[in-house]
Symmetry: C2
């Protein structure tokens, strides 16, 4: 047994989270794609049968009350809240990440335009939306639409340059906590403070950080945030996203999608819109119950799991992966795009590799599942809840075989 294999064994033996793996359905493959689609939590299939057969099939319409369907968006939001450092009552689940980015960004511009402003979107001299130029594309596309529809100008800049472009023209800033491609962790506290110092509203996309590392939304005064639930939160394919609106801003949250679910009296069927108070104001239409209740079951794996322990293991996993890659893979064959500094690293490692598409195909055939991002990136996500150190060592070893 090699030195690194022994080390993996020791690290696994000392891993206080290792028991969580049993809460997932996994096989002999090394699954390093949980940053794209989280593995299936073992509790989900039976829960879905109950939701489908009993709640829908037998109780039918009564389930909106009796099975708690109606309040699911807020209830499940409150289950996500501790994972991102939010007190209860500020997160609501529903719609896709893209739709939530639209809600958040338009609402942010309206907040920046000042209290009570309705027609004054993009007014008050604050007519710029700053967006991460390296963002996952959907955020950029939606930001462009939000800018167009609020009379703002869109200003794409790399996160490091954000502080330099903030001004009294900045209405809102949309940033990613972790870069989807490189795995770089951005400075959420520092950038949020800079946005606030400029008098603008900070919107964070947590897709690649929630469930992998502490976010501290309340602590750092984030204004609005969105995230998906099918990566590190394991909610299932296309499970609904969530929206965080800081408590102090909820009364000023002026949604561009004021559906009947966000009305203060949804069943009053009143022709005039009067928004609900609190997190439900972020709702829109009828929630997609099947996807949502699968997510609720999936979130139960987090009971009593401290997010700091998750972060510690995540860093140990990525450290160890980089160590194994350096030891096994021929010099110059791959190059890490992920920062070495812990403070700048999310829970993935992105390796540049000339023939990455081909290499990933062969990795998958050899039982190591990551993903390929064009043109030349091998992306490996490390989900601390179910990835172990022996997995990591094996992944690096197979990678070395494949590229040699």
């Amino acid at each position: 047994m090699s030195e690194l294999m022994s080390k993996a064994r020791e690290l696994d033996a000392a891993d206080e989270l290792s028991g969580l793996r049993a809460k997932f359905v996994l096989d002999e493959a090394v699954y390093l794609d949980g940053n794209s689609l989280g593995a299936l939590p073992a509790a989900v299939p039976d829960r879905m049968q109950d939701v489908v057969r009993r709640q829908w099939g037998s109780l039918r319409i009564r389930s909106w009350d009796e099975s708690g369907w109606w309040t699911a968006p807020e209830r499940i939001g409150d289950r996500i809240a501790p994972l991102v450092g939010a007190a209860p009552g500020q997160i609501v689940v529903g719609d896709s990440t893209s739709v939530n980015v639209f809600k958040a960004l338009v609402a942010a511009v309206r907040m920046a335009a000042g209290e009570g402003s309705v027609a004054g979107e993009g007014s008050d001299g604050r007519d710029e939306i700053v967006v991460d130029a390296t963002t996952f594309p959907t955020d950029g596309y939606i930001a462009e639409s939000a800018a167009r529809m609020t009379g703002c100008t869109l200003r794409p800049v790399v996160p490091a340059e954000v502080p330099g472009v903030l001004s009294d023209r900045t209405a809102a800033v949309l940033l990613n906590h972790v870069d989807y491609r490189t795995g770089r962790l951005h400075d959420l506290p520092g950038l949020t403070a800079a946005v606030h110092a400029a008098g603008a509203v900070a919107v964070w996309d947590l897709c690649h950080s929630a469930g992998a590392l502490p976010v501290g939304l309340d602590e750092h005064g984030v204004d609005l945030a969105v995230g998906c639930t099918y990566k590190y939160l394991n909610g299932g394919p296309g499970s609904p996203a969530y929206l965080y609106v800081r408590r102090e801003l909820q009364d000023r949250f002026d949604s561009p999608l004021p559906g009947w679910n966000s009305h203060t009296e949804p069943f009053g069927m009143r022709p005039d819109y009067e928004p609900a108070t609190g997190a439900p104001r972020g709702r829109v239409g009828t929630p997609d119950i099947l996807s949502m209740l699968a997510l609720e079951a999936a979130l139960e794996v987090w009971d009593d799991v401290p997010i700091d322990a998750v972060r510690a293991k995540s860093l140990a996993l990525t450290d160890f992966f980089l160590e194994c890659v350096a030891a096994y893979v021929p010099e110059g064959r791959v190059e890490s795009l992920t920062p070495a500094a812990h403070a700048e690293r999310g829970s993935q490692v992105a390796l540049r590799c000339e023939d990455a598409g081909d290499v990933m195909k062969r990795l998958v055939e050899s039982g190591v599942v990551g993903d390929f991002r064009r043109p030349d990136v091998l992306r490996f996500g490390f989900t601390p809840l179910y990835v172990g150190f022996a997995d990591v060592e094996r992944a690096a070893r197979v990678l070395a075989e494949v590229v040699s």
Copy 2:
């Protein structure tokens, strides 16, 4: 046995659709709430187990290709298409009805503002959105937001008055095919023609008609349409809605929610948005696969079911219900809000009843499930796929007992 019971028996014996009831999970209750939440199709539970256990749990990320997840929105749209009289390639499934109303209405205003217009929203003198004043409220709320964000004025009028307010200022008109409260069927061909004659864009909400009666989207030249799938289409609680964009208008569909799923090359991760051609342009973010594939299984009950036969049975059911109510219920105790004329009737009967809330509670306790709409409406939906004439007779008989 009473005369009406005998008649019910004869009607059931002659019903060519009666065999479809076996494709649903039903119990001894008379379920007349399928216009709120359709009953569970029997094929859904096993399909969901396969989707959860094998597609997600075992194939995981590979299912986006291998299980057809990625193309589900268009594929399932094409399954809905024949039910609403649309040729393939014009319907895409995803998001809630409210979100789709927003997409459709903003896109309609942009179409009305003329080819290639970008900044000119609400320009060209077309700066009014006409909306059904009796609409299910979410359409009104969303229309108000769409108007605000495109610089238009919102003009709510009852459908009968729509032709009278159309002018060269009208950009778009949002109408309901069937009124959610009264069950009144509006004149889709005539109103669409009137909207077109005024040079405006017609948007129809099909929530209470699709699956219950022929819609004829292509035949009548409807421009855009939206609908939910959890009523007469039995897709499950909060199953995703759909969006129809007439083929000739697809290239001019300029979405306010241009998420990465609507990009011509979604995995190109390109910073610039270039919309896909065809129905996928109506997509936004990652589709909610569990809810969507439950819907796909649910739609299989429609194989070889002619929508004209569904309509004929629907009218026979509501005719017979009104007949039984007239025979059984004491004069003056309830009053039908649903038009007697077939051409003006959807697939529900709404009865005004002073103590409707109480009455519905006792009906449900007695095994007859409809719903209550404030302040004084008993609403009964008749789903031709699984409601029979004996159900109808029993419902009227129990209603008579409850109100006497």
